[in-house]
Assembly symmetry: C2
């Protein structure tokens, strides 16, 4: 597990891993995000939430995704290079995110792909898992990011 | 194109489509989201943004995803049934989202899958596309949602 990664495409290899710091999500943040982006009764109303498939008030899944982005940006998982995603596969939410949960993420390089056109960049396929304080996964995805080569 | 859909699993068929209303994203909203979840210079600093792959200040891709959720919740694309996603495939951002862009979404049923265990629910695979005011796609994804059967 590396502390941080270097910044250009050539410096990455399949199997490289990096861990982020952590953050704690509050009830107020969950509520504010849902009111802005996912205003459904099963997120906002306690009685309805308890009776729903989620079994209680839980964050919007897109909040969990956004918090994962915050973790990997703060964690400088590309060693300070901009993190620009072009696509996501296999996104799943195995467990609801609840107020008070403390999150951390891990990223692993799954594939490295040079530019087909010879442009001074390449893409990395990263598997990203975000864990709660019980080391259970709240979101997992495979993200393709683009970054420059050394010669750019 | 249906105005709205009925609410239980049995009422959906492959090929059903629904369109949402629209919303406009502001510079302040883009800035606030990036500060909370994606605080990278290419989102927040105009000079750096102009020089980046994005060619100017653009929203976080997770903001585009969250706004799509807002559109499909307000659009009641499951006819008022809760919209609970369990996973996403093939998420891509073909074009950056900019301040002032007006968004609308369309959803189409790609697959209907009854519960394997016989539980009173099923899943729908929905292709969701979000368009800007030029009818260009800013985000597209295939989302699996779970919803109850009539007998639940």
């Amino acid at each position: 597990m590396l502390d941080h990664w270097p910044r250009t495409f050539e410096d990455f290899a399949v199997g490289d891993r990096v861990a982020t710091g952590s953050l704690t999500v509050t009830e107020e943040e969950i509520d504010a995000f849902c009111r802005s982006f996912d205003p459904q009764p099963h997120h906002l109303d306690l009685d309805i939430a308890d009776a729903s498939l989620l079994g209680g008030v839980a964050a919007s899944g897109w909040h969990t995704a956004a918090l994962t982005m915050r973790l990997i940006v703060d964690g400088k998982i590309l060693g300070g290079s901009p993190i620009i995603g072009v696509g996501v596969q296999n996104l799943r939410w195995p467990k609801p995110l609840r107020a008070g949960d403390r999150l951390r993420a891990e990223a692993e390089v799954v594939k490295v792909t040079p530019s087909r056109s010879g442009a001074p960049r390449g893409t990395l396929l990263l598997n990203i898992k975000t864990y709660d304080q019980n080391d259970e996964i709240v979101i997992e995805m495979d993200t393709t990011v683009v970054l420059p080569t050394r010669d750019q």
